[in-house]
Amino acid sequence: MKDRENKAYRIALFGILGALALILSLFENIFLPDLPFLPAGAKPGLSNIITMFTASFAGLGGAIYITLIKAFFAFITRGTTAALMSLSGGILSTVALCIMIKYEGKNLSFIGIGIVCAVMHNMGQLACACIISGTAELINYGKYLLVFALVSGALTGLILNVVMPRLRQTVINHILQKH
């Protein structure tokens, strides 16, 4: 009974996290592409907050699950190219995230992790764009993405630094360990 309860709890929790990630991506897609000072196609990656949170208690599997949900959502709303871009960036950044999150603590906070994830995400997408278009020239665009990743990664990390201790108290300790 206890196992079943725990399982139901996990399904519900992942449902909520998946939905949150989608809402954040949707929000970015609707409101942010028109900002003129952003490099074309660059987004702050707010939904990475959800991925980082998931990775911190569910590990690689859970975080990849959020990435897959996002890629599927991109596929049905924005087509194959968007889905491939989402998937390539998402998987690379999630793997980097799961490696780095082990070192989170005294010397490393979510700001550093966020920046590395944002950079990896953009590099993954750039590699994917090069492969799809068959043109290596696109690497030139990487420097703009790198600057942007520095800012957006720090931003998501900053948010997570604030939110994480509270979430840890409520979700991870309070509910997960009770079951």
Binding site: G41, S109, I111, G112, I115, V119, T135, I139, N140, Y141
Partner: protein, 118 residues
């Protein structure tokens, strides 16, 4: 913010500076290159363009002028290529990924040639 974060930020900033270093020097004899499906389909020296003209490459309309090259229209969904605007500086690259069209500005090193034919 902790030690590790600062290290990562510094590393990224240094990498950015290195990557941007080449664009501090203004390029001469700029050439607009257009790739479709990874194949170079057109290359035109910007200084040789007298009147602006349009070029259509697999679903994208490109406008070439003295000042640079831009995407006018495209059959793709996101229109990121059009949003980017005019490419005019050395090293600038923009792509319409769904149509697999890439446009890039290069600086021609050799001043002696006056036309590029592919």
């Amino acid at each position: 913010m902790k030690k590790g974060d600062a290290l990562i930020i510094v590393l990224c900033a240094v990498l950015c500076l290195c990557l941007f270093a080449s664009s501090f020097f203004p390029g001469k004899n700029l050439i607009a290159e257009i790739y479709s499906d990874g194949v170079l389909v057109a290359a035109k020296a910007l200084s040789e363009i007298e009147e602006e003209y349009t070029l259509s490459v697999s679903g994208c309309e490109l406008e070439l002028s003295k000042n640079g090259i831009s995407f006018l229209s495209s059959t793709c969904k996101d229109k990121l290529c059009i949003k980017y605007g005019v490419l005019s500086k050395k090293g600038e690259t923009m792509a319409c990924i769904p149509n697999r069209v890439v446009v890039s500005i290069k600086s021609g090193k050799d001043k002696n040639f006056d036309a590029v034919a592919y």
